[in-house]
Every structure is written in structure tokens, then in C-alpha cells.
């Protein structure tokens, strides 16, 4: 249904195909979260890989920073409708974390955990084959706390609530298990190109 008198502002022709339906391009980097930014001490920071309840490997900040580094430039899409093109990240691919732990993915489902109790689920297949990383740098400098620093999950092909800020662990689960927003009405998978914002979209 057409809105009388609305003309809108189109994205540039060269970028239009990169903006998923219902999204608009922004040039700043909005910050959204459910609660306060948690303080994270690098001296106490740990990243834990778990299979079910069993810890497989744990890294402290120093050990994690010694893992192989990869850079990626990606478009990111927030469910609140903003999209930012060509964002530059550097961090450790999930593939390299699994390799360092000597673990072949035991289940098809992962639940990511954050320092403040936040969680979100991502299928294993969406984390491997260079699709996702634990990001440590944004735009060449250490990731700011408000944007999830010192480390956040980065899964750019899904809505950005899946890129858990202040991530401190990945857990393989037996079933696809909803996390914080999934339990509050958001989609279990979250593909921006199919506008999977809310449950059953």
C-alpha cells in the first residue's frame, strides 16, 4: 500500500543490491544492547570451547591472541533495520579455534555465550568455512567495549544480534537451542535476505 507523498531516499545504484529488504544504509556505527556494557578484565578473560557441558579447551587472553589471525571486510545488518557496508574486522576464524582445540565439530548446533549472560544460537555450518570469527579489531584498532570489545563473535551473513558481544565461549549443543533474543520472539536463524527477524517470519 503506497504512502501518500513519500518518496524516500534510495541507496546509490551501485550499492542497492547489497542492502537487504527493509534495511537502510547508515554511515555511523549504532550501538544497541539489552543492558549495560559489562566491564571485562583482560587479565581474567577466558574463552571456552565446550561440547555439551564438557569443556574441550580454554584460552586466556595471551593464548587466544597467539592464534592465527584473519582479516575480513563485510557488510553487516542489524534487525533494527540499519545496514553498514564494508566493515573491517580482524580476529580468529572459528575454523582456527576448532583446529587449535583439535576438535571436529561434534554437533550441527552452537550456542554462543557472553560475559553478561547473553547467548545466541548459530548453526555450526554458519560458523565454519571462513564464514565467522571471534573479532578482536574493528577498523584496525582494538574493538571498543560498547561494540563488544575485547572480543565478539562475528557472523556477518546473519542479523547482527547473532554476533554476540563480549563473547567468552562457544558451546556445541544437541539441539538448536534459542538464546536471549530467540527466547523473546526473534528468529532462530536470522537471514537478512529472507527478512527472518521474528519467530516464524
Amino acid at each position: 500500500m503506497v504512502t501518500r507523498g513519500f518518496t524516500g531516499r534510495r541507496p546509490s545504484r551501485e550499492n542497492a543490491h547489497r542492502i537487504p529488504p527493509g534495511q537502510h544504509e547508515v554511515f555511523d556505527f549504532p550501538v544497541l544492547s539489552a543492558g549495560p556494557t559489562p566491564p571485562v578484565s583482560l587479565a581474567e578473560w577466558k574463552f571456552t570451547l565446550k561440547s555439551g557441558v564438557r569443556p574441550v579447551k580454554q584460552w586466556n587472553w595471551e593464548a587466544f591472541n597467539a592464534l592465527p589471525r584473519t582479516a575480513m571486510t563485510k557488510d553487516i545488518h542489524c534487525v533494527t533495520t540499519w545496514t553498514k557496508l564494508d566493515t573491517k574486522w580482524e580476529g580468529v576464524l572459528i575454523d582456527d579455534i576448532l583446529k587449535d582445540a583439535g576438535l571436529a565439530a561434534p554437533t550441527p548446533w552452537v550456542l554462543a555465550h557472553s560475559v553478561d549472560g547473553y547467548s545466541t544460537n548459530v548453526p555450526t555450518a554458519d560458523l565454519t568455512d571462513a564464514k565467522a570469527m571471534i573479532a578482536l579489531l574493528y577498523d584496525g584498532v582494538p574493538l571498543e567495549a560498547d561494540h563488544g570489545g575485547p572480543a565478539r563473535l562475528l557472523v556477518p551473513h546473519l542479523y547482527f544480534w547473532k554476533s554476540a558481544k563480549w563473547v567468552n565461549g562457544l558451546q556445541f549443543t544437541e539441539r538448536d537451542t534459542g538464546g536471549f533474543w530467540e527466547l523473546r520472539g526473534y528468529h532462530m536463524y536470522g537471514d537478512p535476505w529472507r527478512q527472518q527477524r521474528f519467530t516464524n517470519d
Binding site: 500500500m1 503506497v2 504512502t3 501518500r4 507523498g5 513519500f6 518518496t7 524516500g8 531516499r9 534510495r10 529488504p21 527493509g22 534495511q23 537502510h24 555511523d28 556505527f29 549504532p30 550501538v31 544497541l32 544492547s33 539489552a34 543492558g35 549495560p36 556494557t37 559489562p38 533494527t80 533495520t81 553478561d116 549472560g117 560498547d146 523473546r184 520472539g185 521474528f198 519467530t199 516464524n200 517470519d201
Partner: protein, 254 residues
């Protein structure tokens, strides 16, 4: 016909007619919308609004509902005109009473106040961030024995205070509601010689003073505004001893 067992009605777009447009401040207007099928909502929730151009191009934005859930049939949205915006200029410069836009929602069960569940509440809003908090204040005003509520509203000047007269009236008449104003840039032109509670941004000491004056910790805090406001206030609340899990935030961008 939607099958309600597989798909929730809130996720479907529906037409809503603009029933009234009210000028609130030099940059904010509020819009009363009547959806075809008004759905119940909780104070604090928002709706998504969709505008469609003739060639099918769509713009979607989210706006908090500032009216109370006990008012049936219509919802009110407070929209600030952003100079570089795409949707807000449409609302401020083009939209007229009788025009129709699409809405969907309500959304968020996290930033939502349920009077029986959250105990004493502290609401902190910066600028247009007061919108979802206003829904909570208006609901509070309609309840017979609500828990204690404090609204702390930070605005640049008295003329930027949205719903000003209504808030001034409510704080005089409701004994369980406390309304505190922080006017951060220009404290002149106060209505009727009113004095702002704070004439600077809400910082650590202001938050501590507030909590002390309230005689204790609230059970739940709702903080809404732009990111620098929410970040500063949420950090101050945590430093003052409030459990982070009891602080719910809604951030409008950077």
C-alpha cells in the same frame, strides 16, 4: 486468515490511520494512529512503521509507543525530526490527519514494564528517549495502587521537554510518582519559575544523589536515549550498586 498457532499477529503489517498530529517541541511531534486491528501492548514496547513509495521502495523504522496500554484503539508515537532522516521528515513535513501508514508490532518483551512484576522502578530518559517511559508513566497514573516510580528526564532546555505540562501536572497529583528534570544546556525560560533538579548531565554524583533521595535502590531500571546517555547512566547505576541484570536499556543509535 492467519493461523494463530503458527504465526503471531504482531508480526503482520497492517494499515493505521493518522488521527491526530500534536506539536510537542520545536523538533518533536506526536502522532496518534488508529490501527485497523489494535493489539494489546505493554508499556515500553515499540512498533515498526513502514512507508512505501510509488515504485515499491520501502523504509522501515521503529518507534516506541508513548501512550498508555489502558487507552484502547489508538497508539501515540513521538517522532523527532532528524535533519538527515528519511522517515522523520515525511512525518513532520508531509503527513496529514487521514493519511495511512503500515505498522507492525508491538515488539520487545525485554524493555517492557509490567506493574506487578518489577517492583519499584526507576526510569531514566534522555531527549526523545522519554517516549517509551511516557507509556509507563501514563499507565502508572491510571493504576489505583501502583509501586513507586521515579522518572528522571534529561533534556537540553525546558522547551525540549516533551509532554512537559502533563508531566508537571502528574508530579503534583500522584504521590507514588516522582518526576525529576535534568536540563543540561539552557536552564532559562523555565515555566513559572520552575527550578530544574539538575542543571547538568546525569553523572555518577547525580545518580547517587537521586538514589539517596529516593531512600534506597529501585528494583528495576529502564534507561532510554542515545548511546552516550544510556552508556553514562547505565554505568553510573552499576557503580552505585544496582545489579546489571536489573537495568534494561534501549539505545537509539550512536
Amino acid at each position: 486468515m492467519t493461523d494463530s498457532t503458527t504465526r503471531s499477529a504482531e508480526h503482520d503489517w497492517q494499515a493505521a490511520t493518522i488521527e491526530a498530529i500534536r506539536v510537542q517541541t520545536p523538533t518533536v511531534k506526536s502522532f496518534v494512529l488508529r490501527p485497523g486491528d489494535a493489539r494489546p501492548f505493554f508499556a515500553g514496547q515499540h512498533v515498526d512503521v513502514r512507508l512505501t513509495a510509488e515504485d515499491g521502495y520501502e523504509a522501515h523504522r521503529s518507534y516506541s509507543i508513548c501512550s498508555s496500554p489502558h487507552v484502547k484503539g489508538t497508539i501515540e508515537l513521538a517522532i523527532e525530526e532528524l535533519p538527515t532522516g528519511e522517515v522523520s521528515p515525511y512525518f513532520h513535513e508531509v503527513a496529514q490527519v487521514g493519511d495511512v501508514v503500515d505498522v507492525r508490532g508491538p515488539f520487545t518483551t525485554h524493555f517492557a514494564w509490567q506493574p506487578d512484576e518489577h517492583g519499584e522502578v526507576l526510569l531514566l530518559g534522555g531527549g526523545s528517549g522519554v517516549a517509551p517511559l511516557m507509556s509507563m508513566v501514563r499507565l502508572h497514573a491510571a493504576l489505583a495502587e501502583p509501586p513507586r516510580m521515579t522518572l528522571v528526564y534529561s533534556a537540553r532546555s525546558w522547551s525540549d521537554v516533551i509532554f512537559r505540562d502533563e508531566l508537571l501536572q502528574l508530579r503534583q497529583t500522584r504521590t507514588t510518582l516522582r518526576v525529576v528534570f535534568a536540563i543540561t544546556r539552557d536552564i532559562t525560560e523555565a515555566p513559572d519559575g520552575l527550578v530544574a533538579d539538575f542543571s547538568h548531565r546525569l553523572d555518577q554524583s547525580a545518580i547517587q544523589k537521586l538514589l539517596h533521595e529516593n531512600g534506597g535502590m529501585p528494583n528495576t531500571c529502564f534507561v532510554c536515549g542515545n548511546n552516550s546517555f544510556v552508556g553514562a547512566v547505565a554505568d553510573a547505576l552499576v557503580s552505585a550498586g544496582i545489579t546489571p541484570q536489573n537495568i534494561r536499556t534501549e539505545r537509539y543509535g550512536e
